[in-house]
């Protein structure tokens, strides 16, 4: 039971629907649990592939339109595949007034992508987050699980280079 889906040019991915079934099994019959179900699916695939969402809709007996409405409402859910490294630029107040826009701009310059986009080689995805809560390290970015704090624009290039 698998479908091949064109997720991006030159990237094809197999979506294992039986995996989806096992992920959402605990939530069947509980329509209010659609958010945790989608969270599980996204944890596994890194984003919400359309065939997987269709499967959730069928199994949980919730119209696809409604699931789509929920999934697009919350910032956490991603409808497109993302890069190996997720750069999260903290846009909290403390980071903002200590220069996070300048850090974000520098990253955008280097990677030639804007916030919310992924590089063509699927190496980096650039995102903004409201607050990481590491205000003592402002301005701070996270790359996957690693925080990089007290940044200035001139430090950005070396940091990005260390993630290949």
């Amino acid at each position: 039971m698998s479908t091949v889906v064109e997720t991006r040019e030159a990237v094809t991915e197999e979506i294992d629907l039986s995996k989806v079934d096992s992920l959402i099994e605990p939530y069947l019959g509980k329509k209010e649990m659609v958010i945790p179900a989608l969270q599980k699916v996204q944890d596994h695939f890194g984003y919400l592939p359309r065939p997987a969402v269709e499967r959730v809709s069928k199994q949980m007996r919730i119209p696809l339109s409604r699931i789509y409405g929920v999934a697009t409402f919350y910032a956490q859910f991603k409808m497109k595949p993302r890069g190996r490294y997720i750069i999260r630029v903290c846009k909290g107040t403390a980071c903002h007034i200590q220069g996070s826009p300048k850090i974000a701009e520098r990253i955008e310059d280097i990677l030639s992508i804007e916030s919310g986009e992924t590089t063509d080689d699927l190496r980096f995805t650039l995102e903004e987050v409201a607050c990481i809560g590491a205000c003592a390290l402002a301005p701070v970015i996270m790359i996957n699980e690693n925080p990089h704090g007290r940044l200035t624009p001139d430090k950005v290039k070396d940091i990005l280079d260390s993630y290949q």
Binding site: K31, E32, M33, V34, I35, P36, L38, Q39, G69, V70, F73, Y74, A75, Q76, F77, K91, G92, T93, A94, H96, I97, Q98, G99, K102, E105, R106, V129, A130, C131, I132, G133, A134, C135, A136, L137, A138, V140, P147, G149, T152, P153, D154, V156, K157
Partner: protein, 605 residues
Amino acid sequence: MYEKHLMICGATGCLSSGSSQVEEALIEELEKHGIKDKYRLVMGGCPGFCEVGPLIVVYPDEVFYSRLKPKDMAELVEKHLVGGEIVERLLYKGPDVDAPARFYDTIPFYAKQKFNVLRNSGLIDPESIDEYIMRGGYRAFTRALNMDSTTICEEVKQAGLRGRGGAGFSTGLKWELTYKAPSSKKYVVCNADEGDPGAFMDRSILEGDPHAILEGMLICGRAIGADEGYIYCRAEYPLAIKRLKTAIEDAERYGLLGENILGYGFNFKMNIKEGAGAFVCGEETALLASIEGKRGMPRPRPPFPAQSGLFGKPTTINNVETFANVPLIVKEGGVDEFVKVGTDGSKGTKVFALAGKIRNTGLCEVPMGITIREIIYDVGGGIKGGRAFKAVQAGGPSGGCIPDELIDLPIDYDSLNQAGAIMGSGGLVVMDERTCMVDLARYFLSFTQKESCGKCTPCREGTKRMLEILNRISEGLGKPEDLDTLDSLATSIKDSSLCGLGQTCPNPVLSTIRYFRNEYEEHIEEHFCRAGVCKELFNYRIDEEKCTGCTACVKACPVDAIKGEKKEPHEIIQELCTRCGSCIEKCRQDCIMITPVGSEADVSN
């Protein structure tokens, strides 16, 4: 029996500055000396002082080690643990102390604090229910089991506890309303969707003392007659969620959650719901919709959740910090003790997250009624880099700024409201002369505009129009009538929005116009941003007289826009400069000026 307990701060702030590497190094050193079994290491809650993390506190000696690096562990183990001598080098040092300081009594950051809510944070192992119980935990709940609902509500009312999440509604009254609503099924909901940028109080409480939240919710359940609770926590707080899960499992194992608790015929089931990243879900009706698996959009009130809340049942929703206060009130003699602290209208303490251009970034808990000056200068240690204090933003995107001239304002619900700010959840972001107030207003509004759920028109469209105007002003395209337009838009949005997000989101704009009108006018009329933030509205220039030609700025510039030989005055090539500010950070001579575009002179001072 352990000889000493070593509490390593394992909260997000210290983890980000490397506390787990410090822990690894510590374990390695202890093993090297073969004394690992003599010491108990706990990755504990947050002692609050994030600025000087990673931290270790050694008990019972009460020695506070700060700014630790893995390589310091050899000395700490050898000198202190083996040799019994305090490692002076690793103690807290700062301009506010004469000599290296040992602990709470000597570190100025702690001197004015009063620990109620943070009573256990950093002191106990947050993953041990036994330690919570040893510190008097669950005693208030067992007392509540012997009380009737009205008495519990009455005590909470007497204590004058007001919601710590923002609006400051009386908690006891809220409980009473839910109690009186007729229904066989009711819910207790804990709002742990802490979304204000720059605020991390709730996270620290959840990470440092999760049982206090459970106990507060249980007492609430007992008071209103609910048998089920939900904690709605941001998914961005994985550690808090993990600790809550452990706490719930332990409480179930101890018979403090589940069926027929302690034989009193009281049942309570606790659930955790992870938020999925929507700021509006901090609004109570939106939060309830999200728990129900829907888009997190608010709905008009009434009916209030106390009448019709989660799944249509009467529901009490309180914030994390509110619940953490409850056991202190309901314990034996708690009310009398609680009302001793605070002001007439605002009782108890408040936890604040201090951030921004302040020396001591971190978490502090202070009595209500303390002045802003005391928080900033005594607790916070003053402004970073010795620049001038300009304003403090209280209450995040729903709040307002408080300028220098109101620095002696006491912090309580009513004084803050009068000043155009709100208590909010407790974020205090400090700003200095390098913060542009127009940009700040624009920043908050762009946040709320993005987070507006789109359900009601004033918020959806109004924030967008306001943001367009602010964007224009910060690009130098402002018009003289803009300020009046902003004011009238703001008033309409406040009056006509459906939920708290819309009703409060114009506050940052209104309060910055109220206190920093001249700065707006300077942007509009003179096209100049003296703080050096709005990029189109200033240039960096090097003061040739002061420049010593040290080349620090040349090296720092990422776009090679600074030329100049060693020991010769440097020059910035304006066409190449991106105004990223790397140079001004690095310049030790203070010779980089912020000047109006086209002008040679420094008018920023």
